[in-house]
């Protein structure tokens, strides 16, 4: 480590210990009145172990105190940001939805979240309704391995038509310029506007989509695109059976005219 300023006046230091490299520049300048003052700047190369322990102990405690304070101060805002992002995405993947209700998984069943219990814990599912209170579908979460890291997505699922009606990527570290086309590629994302998962959704070549269950591929992002399709298949099959029936569950939709399909209980 070179000294930042040229030291023309200082004598060469003994090279026996690297502890002697540090000196007090302020003292050489004559600005430090406490130079050599034993209590503040020990001349002995070995201060007592107690002093070392105390220094690190105090530094660590102050650091911990500051971190806890900042953590507590920022935690509500961070949680709010996370929920806002999730709710924005929930409306995005359910075209036409104007409001939603939160459902949570409880003892293997998906039930309406009671807002009086505060923020929901655990996995949440959003049920979206249009302006007339008609149910549109569910925004269900999904995650799985992508090319770089775990992908987290939100899937719009219409249980009446049994179609995926939207898909949003919540969390991705896919390669910029290539893998991140799963967000920007128009053909790929359009495939999720009405996608059948029966028997399963399959990835086909770019622009080759001809069936309801086919997804247009992305050249240069095959792995990322396949990952999304896999997550969609897995999440829909995992959630489909457990989702509540919106036409009977929702008091707002009692008078619904929307036809119920042949039920998959």
């Amino acid at each position: 480590m070179a000294d930042p300023l040229p030291q023309t006046s200082s004598p060469p230091k003994p090279a026996s210990s690297n502890l002697t490299v540090i000196d007090d520049d302020g003292a050489r300048d004559g600005t430090d009145l406490c130079h050599g003052c034993d209590t503040k700047l020990p001349q002995a190369p070995q201060p007592s172990p107690l002093r070392l322990i105390l220094t690190l102990g105090i530094a660590g405690s102050l650091s911990g105190l500051l971190l806890v304070t900042v953590f507590l101060a920022t935690a509500p805002a961070i949680e709010r940001n996370r929920i806002e992002a999730l709710e924005r995405a929930a409306l995005d993947v359910l075209p036409g939805a104007e409001r939603f209700e939160v459902f949570v998984e409880q003892d293997g069943r998906v039930v309406r979240h009671d807002p009086s219990l505060g923020s929901p814990s655990g996995t949440t599912v959003y049920a979206g309704f249009d302006g007339d209170g008609e149910p549109i579908g569910f925004a269900i979460p999904g995650s799985g391995p992508g090319f770089q890291d775990t992908l987290e997505i939100l899937i719009g699922w219409d249980p009446f038509r049994r179609r995926v009606i939207g898909m949003a990527v919540l969390e991705t570290r896919e390669t910029p310029g290539l893998g991140d086309k799963i967000i920007t590629d128009p053909d790929f994302t359009a495939s999720f506007e009405s996608l059948s998962v029966e028997p399963t959704a399959v990835l086909v070549g770019p622009g080759a989509r001809s069936e309801e269950n086919e997804v247009d591929g992305i050249s240069g992002a095959t792995i990322s695109a396949q990952a999304i399709v896999n997550i969609v298949n897995d999440s829909v099959s995992a959630w489909d059976q457990r989702l509540p029936d919106l036409t009977t569950e929702s008091e707002q939709s009692k008078d619904t005219t929307r036809e119920r399909p042949e039920q998959a209980q």
Binding site: P4, L19, I22, L52, V70, T74, A77, R82
Partner: protein
């Protein structure tokens, strides 16, 4: 400090003559990793500036009570604390930028630029020059990140700060926003800096005090 011009000199040193990225080659990991757009460079530069300024101020203030034997550990405690603070505050105030920078905020802890300034400067100097040094170094670091990010964004995406700057028919060179583009860009910039330095030294045959500082 001995002369009033020294503070000015300390500041300019970090800003340009001993620029942490282009001359001292410190902190190259974040400098290469996040700079696929100019705005990322600004954001990481700002976070690094905050950490370097607070760490240098504290280390310099307490340099007389920190025993030499545990100084590095103490530096790390101070740096890590303020990196975490920056991380939490960014997540609360600017979630979009926080999501973009991802893993690189926590990695500011091991940016050798910050630890290097504590060891080489803040631990030996009074608070005022330490703050000036931290400001110069971190602005120099930010400028370097924005330069690298700007070049990579223009060539790799055809935009600068998100605004389209290249003609409509321009096909982006995707490699520039991938990792190799970072190496290409920094190599070109280093060559340019070396060229400028060689020219300056040719003009002023005896340029005193132009030795760059060593890395940690």
């Amino acid at each position: 400090m001995k002369r009033p011009t020294d503070l000015h000199d300390t500041f300019r040193r970090g800003l340009w003559r001993d620029n942490p990225v282009f001359i001292a080659l410190l902190g190259l990991c974040p400098a290469l990793a996040v700079t696929n757009s100019a705005i990322n460079g600004v954001a990481l530069g700002a976070a690094t500036t905050f950490v370097l300024l607070t760490a240098s101020t504290l280390v310099s203030s307490f340099r007389k009570v920190i025993p030499k034997q545990v100084r590095i550990t103490t530096f790390i405690i101070i740096i890590a604390t303020f990196v975490t603070v920056a991380d939490l505050v960014l997540a609360a105030m600017a979630p979009a930028i926080h999501a973009e920078l991802g893993a690189f905020i926590p990695l500011i802890v091991c940016n050798c630029l910050i630890l290097g300034r504590q060891e080489a400067f803040a631990f030996r100097k009074p608070v005022k020059p330490a703050v000036v040094d931290a400001a110069g170094m971190s602005i120099g670091f930010t400028v370097a990140l924005v330069m690298i990010g700007g070049i990579r964004e223009i060539l790799g995406s055809g935009t600068l700060f998100g605004v389209i700057v290249m003609p409509a028919g321009f096909e982006p060179w995707i490699i520039m926003i991938l990792p190799p583009g970072g190496f290409f860009t920094i190599a070109l910039l280093l060559a340019l800096m070396a060229h400028l330095k060689a020219r300056r030294e040719a003009r002023l045959p005896r340029h005193e005090d132009s030795e760059p500082e060593g890395a940690v």
